[in-house]
Symmetry: C2
Amino acid sequence: MSTRGSDRPLRADAQRNRQALLVKARELFESGEFFDLRFDDFARLAGVGTGTLYRHFPTREALAEAVYHEEVVALCDRARRLRATLPALEALATFLRDFVDYMHEHHGLARTVATLMTTGSETLAEGSRALEEAVTGLVAAAAEEGTVRGDVGAGAVMMALHGIGAAHDRPGWRAEADGVITLVLDGLVQGAQPSSPNDSPAR
Amino acid sequence: MSTRGSDRPLRADAQRNRQALLVKARELFESGEFFDLRFDDFARLAGVGTGTLYRHFPTREALAEAVYHEEVVALCDRARRLRATLPALEALATFLRDFVDYMHEHHGLARTVATLMTTGSETLAEGSRALEEAVTGLVAAAAEEGTVRGDVGAGAVMMALHGIGAAHDRPGWRAEADGVITLVLDGLVQGAQPSSPNDSPAR
DNA sequence: GATATAAGTGGAGACAATCTCCACTTTTGA
DNA sequence: TCAAAAGTGGAGATTGTCTCCACTTATATC
């Protein structure tokens, strides 16, 4: 997935170092220091030499991407779980609301997304795709159910989510993010073409 | 507005240099090279020494901000003009659609926004505020008219616009951006509370 | 448990971009 | 025309990034 072409398993000590780097990185993400730190200093903080740091993660972004990737996987799992246990529209609504919660708690993730956006990161694109697949599933299910329009793709929803993530430092972030979700959900429901002439209200 | 504390007017040659820098910057924005260039080289390209460049714009971001600011002013003017000449909802819709066009054409602006987002730029915040004021005007007018809900602020719309701007490099950008606008508009209309008594405010 | 070799380490120093400093030039206004 | 104030520009200091390789550690083999 990241960094190394070979597929031979890493030596034990290498694995330990790699893990130490990821753990420290995650810690600094949450505290928001990650992007302000000299990268060499980061190596010392994690208890490895600079050479080792650079071998495992050739750039700051590569490391950020690794952490980002784990977060996205968690998010996708959540989407799948919701989809399996709730009616389609409710699952979608819950996921979107939860997404805001998630961003609210994982402060660092938002900044990471914003940063990766400016670098044209391939992992970000891939992560987006994975997340998008999950969202597509939710949207498509709801569309099939007839509670949601079918003519606006999950891509648009993704874009709104990106906006929420990227604008994390705005003062009234939380309220505005909820507002965006409300608009998106209502916008989706609005255009629905139910099989029967009525419909079930959103949430 | 930017950079200098004093208020004495700039000397003639200084004004010329400053202008040259801005002109060149704008040019490189459009071509997309601005953020990939060595900053010192940029000075030579604009025909001034590095010292001069740094005195006028102490960082690359400061220069980006100056250009950004001009763009935002243009956008705000457009909003005001629309508001004066069209019915409220139509003005809002037109503005949002036009915004996408504008971003589509001014390729560089999108990247600038994305970059400034990651730096916590004060100018970006201020620009957002200005734009937001304009959008607030449009939304409020439409709300008063009764064609649009009143319980979701312009901040949410702004966030969606940020998302559109920041995600400028996504493959299907144009279509998705239009989708977002559709969702936002329909979401706004959806929750409208006409003078008649019914409806429930969505969260 | 000794040995060979492949894998990994870490930090000194090369490199590259940013930015400062100041001897010099240009403008201003008296 | 001249003095003071304002501005210039580029050589070189500074700072963060990254490479290189002499050394250490793990693994596989006997």
